[in-house]
């Protein structure tokens, strides 16, 4: 961390400060009480203290002027520049910003989160605020103590250690820094190589890297590829083997079936032989049987011819009988047809005559009906017209009656509206009077306010006069105080000690000196100075013994100056060094204060203190007056406004009116405002009610008039219509209605009669038609029956003729066949056939029924099986061509080998990288174990510096693992740091802190650290700090700039700071950098 800039406002005794730190050694010097430690505290608070903490209370300016504000800009690493701004107090705030270039900042956090982030950023091992163990007040840790020292306890770093840290961040940070410096180069090299191997295989989190290109991914991918190929080929081979197995089975099956086929074929051949023998025997027997049958057939043929001749004679007689019956049926049909024809003619003539009669009667009846309909319609219309007219007359009468009633209502409404308007006027007058009274009251109030404002203005004028007087008095005191340039009282004791030391040292030089001056001229002008007293001129004419205690100065005009000093050289040297210190430390104060000695300075300081006390008292008084004056700042404005208001409320009021109103208000008693307000409320209510009632009455009146107008128009229309309607009935409305009613009844009776007659005509027509249809249907049925009888007779006759013809044909055929047969030859053939059958060989055995067919079927089945198997074989071969057979097996073998190889390789690789991982972890553990003893690592560096500082008086510094200070080694013995001198202790503490700062490359703040160190050691430290300034930042607060800076490095004139040593040393004059109250 490196501090860039610090801005402070209203922080403790500091009004403003703006400090831009340099990169190396920053020496901020100034006399005591200038605010150096306050600036150091500001850095500490900016980094560590939450803004709302009550710990900041001591820094709240006692004289007011706002909350303390600190803004610190610092960098934690390259291009990570932070700016924290805190306004301390209950209503304070915190903002943390970040920048890469130190110019453009972006807000990172705000409020409470700022401190958590800061603690994370600085990594001092301080837990987040609000966490357990955080405690109240300014948090601290080993590192915060070491890096930001306080003036109060410069050796604090020796009394603390990392063990007290709540957070582990500080320890980790120190361990990392120390570990880095402690590592052996060979170890580092091997660690880096091992880390490279680890990086090849593992992610940052220590998991196996499966990313593309990583070793495991490559091996795994090879395994997966090999596995995929193996599984794919295994599948092919499995399929192939299934097919091959099936094929082998089929081939075996085919061989089996082929053997069965051979057996079946042989058996079939044997059976076929037997069958052939049996068939030959059977055929011979059949031939004999056929020959015998031929003999029998010829004999039977002769018998059939005789029987046929007899049958034909019988059939001829039957045919003749049937022919006679057919003729009788035909005659009956002729009779029935004649009957049907006459019935139909009779029906047609009867229907024609009746229809003519019926048509005439119906037309007459329909004519009567039409006449009656027309008469009924006319009567109905007349009756309706009379009824409508009567309605119009009734409506006109009703409208007239309604109009009369409405006229009465309109009169009532008019009277009511007038009454309500009068009431409204009364209520409004009462309300207006209330307004007047209100105005009177306002005038009274404005007058009273005006008087008050005039009083305030007078008071303010008096306060201003007091303020001027006190300010003049304060300026006078301030001028007197400014004239007194004195250090703070605490500065006096060291100066007194210095004076005492100087006096003592000088006293040791006071050996008593006598110098005799003898003039060689008559007159000699001398300048004689004794014991440091300013030389005075003296003229001697004779020998003079110049005496002094320790120092004698003799100046002889332009010839020579003689200085005689008493005492030993080292005593003189001591006096000179004290005098130098006096010149540097005391003389400037004496000169500035315009006094000769410390007594005078003390008086001046006392005077300054009195003046400050008086100034403080005056300031308080002035502040008090200012507060009071500020409270009255607006008084004149208020007075002007009150005057304007008072004249405004009177405007437009008639003369004498206010007095009348005032007297009335006076009569109202104690609080006229309240009374008036209640009266106005009441009057307001009454006006509102009256206004509403008046409006209601006016509305009612208007509605009544409107209705009256509309009704009158309606009545006029209805009257005109009824007059027109009545003019159509000269005989009178009731007579016309009665006539129309009678005509309507008569026509309805006529219509009823005609309708009945028409129904009667239709019914007679229907009955006649039914009778004629019945007669024709009976005649037609009789004709159909007789025709059926003729058809039956003709069919019987035809059948008889057919039978007779067939029998005649059969007889002719029988006779022809008989003529073609040779009975003798047939009997000869029969005998020959019987003889041949007897000569044939007899089969070994008879075939069982179906035995031969079964053998053939068995053979066919076997052959079909073989055909099927061949087809299956072909199919299997087809499948085998697809799956691969031996080719696939060979490839599977190679794939399995590749897979095994890939797996072996992956296993080997994993084991190998696991070993690399273990090696790396073990190396780190070993390294960490070594570096965990932080004291062992850090102590040598401190020892080296400490030894150089003390000229090897101390052999070593012993630190614990947690950086606690055990002590220093003196002559081989451990001595507690408490037992070494205060000066040496603060030097050891400073070295410890500088070592930490160097290793951590972070800023170290030293607040008046080395006040007890002698000059040689300060020289040594000055040199060390100048060297360190080139490595890390050091901020020193001191009232003794000479300890750290050469004279040429100090700012002169009005310059706030000056850089030297190539910019690595920056000297600040705090008197100019800080503006105090």
């Amino acid at each position: 961390m490196r501090l860039h800039r610090l801005k402070v406002n209203n922080f403790g005794g500091i009004t403003n400060a703006d400090i831009a730190f340099g990169p190396g050694l920053n020496v901020l010097f100034g006399p005591n009480d200038l605010g150096k430690s306050t600036i150091a505290d500001a850095i500490r608070l900016a980094l560590l203290l939450p803004h709302a903490s009550t710990t900041c209370e001591p820094y709240v300016p006692w004289a007011g002027g706002g909350d303390p504000v600190v803004e610190l800009t610092f960098a934690t690493e390259e291009q990570r520049i932070w700016r924290v701004r805190k306004r301390f107090g209950k209503s304070g705030s915190s903002v943390l910003e970040e920048s890469r270039d130190g110019n453009d900042f972006d807000e990172v956090d705000r409020g409470r989160a700022v401190d958590a982030k800061l603690r994370e950023v600085v990594r001092w091992g301080i837990p987040e605020p609000g966490g357990s163990g955080g405690g109240r007040g300014l948090p601290s840790s080993f590192l915060s103590t070491a890096l930001l020292s306080t003036q109060a306890d410069v050796s604090a770093v020796l009394t603390t250690s990392l063990e007290a840290d709540i957070g582990g961040g500080g320890r980790d940070r120190i361990a990392a820094a120390l570990q880095a410096i402690a590592q052996d180069p060979l170890f580092l090299l091997l660690l880096r190589k091992t880390q490279e191997r680890w990086d090849e295989a593992y992610t940052e989190k220590g998991n196996k890297s499966r990313a593309k290109g990583s070793v495991f991914a490559g091996a795994s991918e090879r395994v997966n590829q090999a596995r995929d190929e193996k599984e794919s080929l295994q599948k092919v081979v499995d399929e192939s083997e299934v097919v091959e197995q099936g094929l082998r089975k089929l081939i075996a099956e085919r061989s089996g079936r082929e053997e069965v086929e051979t057996g079946a074929a042989e058996r079939l051949h044997m059976l076929e032989t037997l069958a052939a023998q049996a068939e030959a025997c059977k055929q011979a027997a059949d031939q004999a049987r056929v020959a015998l049958e031929a003999v029998d057939r010829i004999k039977q043929l002769a018998d059939d011819v005789v029987a046929s001749e007899r049958s034909l004679a019988t059939l001829t007689a039957s045919t003749e009988r049937l022919e006679a019956g057919r003729d009788l049926a035909r005659a009956a049909v002729a009779v029935a047809a004649e009957t049907l024809k006459s019935s139909e003619a009779e029906a047609r003539s009867a229907t024609l005559a009746a229809e003519m009669t019926d048509t005439v009667a119906r037309q007459q009846l329909e004519l009567r009906k039409a006449v009656a309909d027309r008469a009924a319609t006319a009567a109905q219309q007349a009756l309706g017209s009379a009824i409508e007219t009567q309605k119009l007359v009734d409506a006109a009468t009703a409208a007239e009656r309604e109009l009369t009633q409405l006229g009465e209502q309109a009169t009532d409404a008019r009277e009511e509206a007038a009454k309500r308007a009068e009431m409204l006027a009364v209520a409004q007058a009462a309300l207006d009077h209330c307004e007047e009274l209100d105005r009177g009251l306002a005038i009274q109030l404005a007058d009273r306010h005006l008087a008050n404002c005039e009083t305030e203005v007078a008071k303010k004028t008096a306060l201003a006069a007091d303020l001027v007087r006190l300010s003049v008095e304060r300026d006078s005191l301030l001028t007197r105080r400014k004239r007194l340039v004195v250090p703070v009282a605490a500065f006096l004791p060291p100066l007194r000690k210095l004076e005492k030391d100087l006096a003592g040292a000088r006293a040791s030089l006071g050996v008593g000196l006598v110098a005799t001056v003898t003039p060689r001229q008559a007159r000699l002008e001398l300048r004689l100075g004794r014991d440091g007293i300013v030389p005075i001129s003296e003229v001697i004419t004779q020998s003079l013994d110049a005496e002094a205690e320790s120092e004698l100065f003799i100046g002889i005009a332009d010839v020579a100056t003689i200085q005689v000093r008493g005492g030993k050289p080292d005593a003189r040297e001591y006096v000179r060094s004290l005098e130098d210190r006096w010149t540097l430390e005391a003389a400037p104060h004496l000169t500035a204060a315009g006094v000769q000695d410390l007594v005078g300075l003390e008086e001046k300081i006392e005077e300054a203190r009195d003046l400050e006390t008086q100034l403080a008292s005056l300031n308080r008084e002035i502040n008090n007056l200012q507060v009071q004056t500020e409270a009255l700042a607006e008084t004149e404005v208020l007075l002007r406004e009150a005057a304007l208001r008072a004249s405004g409320v009177r405007e437009g009021l008639a003369e004498g009116m206010f007095e009348s109103l005032a007297s009335e208000l006076q009569r109202m008693g104690g609080d006229p405002g309240v009374t008036l307000r209640s009266r106005r409320q009441r009057a307001s209510g009454e006006v509102e009610a009256a206004r509403k009632a008046s409006a209601d009455a006016a509305t009612a009146q208007m509605l009544t008039l409107e209705r009256e107008r509309a009704l009158r128009e309606r009545r006029d229309k209805e009257k005109a219509a009824s007059d027109v309607a009545l003019s159509r009935f000269p005989e009178g409305l009731s007579v016309a209605a009665a006539n129309a009613q009678a005509a309507l009844v008569a026509t309805k009776a006529e219509l009823l009669t005609v309708t009945k007659d028409l129904a009667s005509v239709h019914s007679a027509q229907d009955e006649r038609a039914r009778r004629l249809d019945e007669s024709v249907r009976s005649a037609r049925e009789a004709e159909v029956k007789s025709r059926a009888a003729v058809d039956a007779a003709e069919r019987a006759h035809t059948d008889a003729l057919t039978t007779q013809a067939l029998e005649g044909g059969r007889l002719a055929e029988l006779r022809k066949r008989l003529a073609s047969e040779d009975l003798v030859a047939a009997e000869t053939t029969a005998h020959s056939a019987l003889a041949a059958s007897a000569a044939l060989p007899v089969p070994e055995r008879s075939l069982v029924l179906g035995e031969l067919e079964a053998a053939r079927a068995a053979l066919a089945t076997v052959r079909e099986d073989i055909t099927n198997i061949d087809r299956e074989i072909q199919r299997s071969q087809g499948a085998l061509e697809q799956v691969g057979g031996a080719v696939a097996r060979e490839r599977l073998y190679a794939a399995v080998e590749a897979f095994d190889q890939a797996e072996r390789h992956e296993r080997e690789l994993e084991a190998d990288y696991e070993a690399w991982k273990l090696l790396l972890e073990t190396m780190k553990e070993a390294d960490a174990a070594q570096a965990s003893n932080l004291g062992q690592v850090l102590a040598p560096a401190i020892t080296k510096q400490f030894g150089m500082l003390t000229a090897l008086r101390y052999q070593g510094v012993q630190l614990t693992a947690q950086l606690g200070t055990e002590g220093v080694l003196v002559e081989g013995n451990l001595r507690s740091y408490e037992r070494i001198s205060v000066g040496t202790r603060e030097q050891l503490s400073t070295l410890y802190r500088l070592c930490l700062g160097e290793y951590l490359r972070t800023a170290v703040v030293l607040d008046d650290q080395l006040v007890q160190s002698d000059e040689p050691r300060m020289d040594w430290f000055r040199s060390l700090l100048a060297r360190n300034a080139r490595t890390f930042q050091i901020v020193v607060f001191t009232c003794r700039p000479g300890d750290y800076l050469s004279t040429s490095s100090m700012p002169t004139g009005e310059t706030v700071y000056v850089d030297s040593d190539d910019g690595f040393i920056r000297a600040f004059d705090m008197g100019r950098a800080v503006q105090r109250r």
């Binding site: 590592q183 052996d184 180069p185 060979l186 170890f187 090299l189 091997l190 190589k193 091992t194 191997r197 090999a226 190929e229 192939s240 097919v243 091959e244 094929l247 082998r248 081939i251 074989i873 071969q877 085998l880 061509e881 799956v883 691969g884 057979g885 031996a886 080719v887 696939a888 097996r889 060979e890 190679a894 794939a895 080998e897 590749a898 095994d900 190889q901 890939a902 072996r904 080997e908 084991a911 190998d912 696991e914 070993a915 690399w916 273990l918 090696l919 073990t922 190396m923 553990e925 070993a926 390294d927 174990a929 070594q930």
Partner: protein, 386 residues
Amino acid sequence: MLRLLHTADWHLGKRFPSFPEEAQKKLSRARLEVVSTILDLARRNSVAAVLCAGDLFDDPSPVPAFWEGLARIFQNRPTPHPPVFLVPGNHDPLTTESVWDRSHPFRARLPAWVHVVDRDDFTYEITPEAVLYARPCRSKAGESDLAMALPARAPGDTRLRIGCVHGSTFDIEGHQTNFPIRKDAGVLRGLDYLAIGDTHSFRDVTHDLPVPTVYPGAPEPTSFDESGAGSVALVALFRHGARPRVEAEAAAFWRWRDVRCRDMNELRALLTTRELERQVIRLHLDMTVSLAEESEMERILRDLQGTEATHGRAGVLVVDKEKLRRRVGSVDAFPDHLPQVLKETVVRLNQLAEGTDDIARESATRALSHLYDLLQRQESQIGSAV
């Protein structure tokens, strides 16, 4: 006398997935390179014909580099050249998509003296007194006997009749579906020599029969278990009825060896083996080594195998460390003046290596070995630090 060169099972385009990538390329290239050797042998032995009995490509549709390479070898041969007969086998059956199809560009690039057996009735009169009958495989598997499908000797035919097919003889397991060849098919079909291919080792399956039926084997081995591979068959036919003389002639460049080392001496001796550069070695390390020995072993393996910067002494080396054991408790091998932190590392790892957890023991032993090896390698750089 009629001389023939009988070869088969070139398996051009075959992949070797169990080998490292560079080795795969070497082995694949070798399969094409041996064809030139075979054709040179044919020329040197003045053969009348070269019979290639199937599985010449590992796949019916090989990548172009292989069929282009083969065509280029044929094209570059000096003419006249004895006829070469290429028979499709079960690895590279004759199908319409195969390299053997007449429409394939491979066919167009073949010289006239190269004949592809792309008909079932393929017949070629090598000389007036000698005729070749061949039949191709048309699928990757089949149950028909292609030898028995060759035409039988006609009565009175006294010419030398040579058959050439691809398939498995009856003595081979699974022959039923891999184009089975009857052992006496040559006799039954009246042949004088039956040239077959499939098995990768040289084998005459018919010693007791008058007609030799011979597997010449793969001219370049394809695996470690093909002891008789790497040859072609040179056949001398005298006259019909006289048994021809068949001899194996070495053709392979690579020698495939399974080597087992049981101690460091055997491993060191391996380095002295002749013609290591022509060997494909599968090295089984079946021994126990100390840290120092393991470091030496790794150096020997790097020497044999090569690195990214140097060629290995062995042609191809595959190392099997399954049975390699590391001796525990050999941390004395580490230099005495190691930095303290490294000493601490060794102590911690050694404690794990001597523990009871097998996995941790193995890992720690390896880790010690890594550390030792790292130190050895850095020796020159770390100089006096070690």
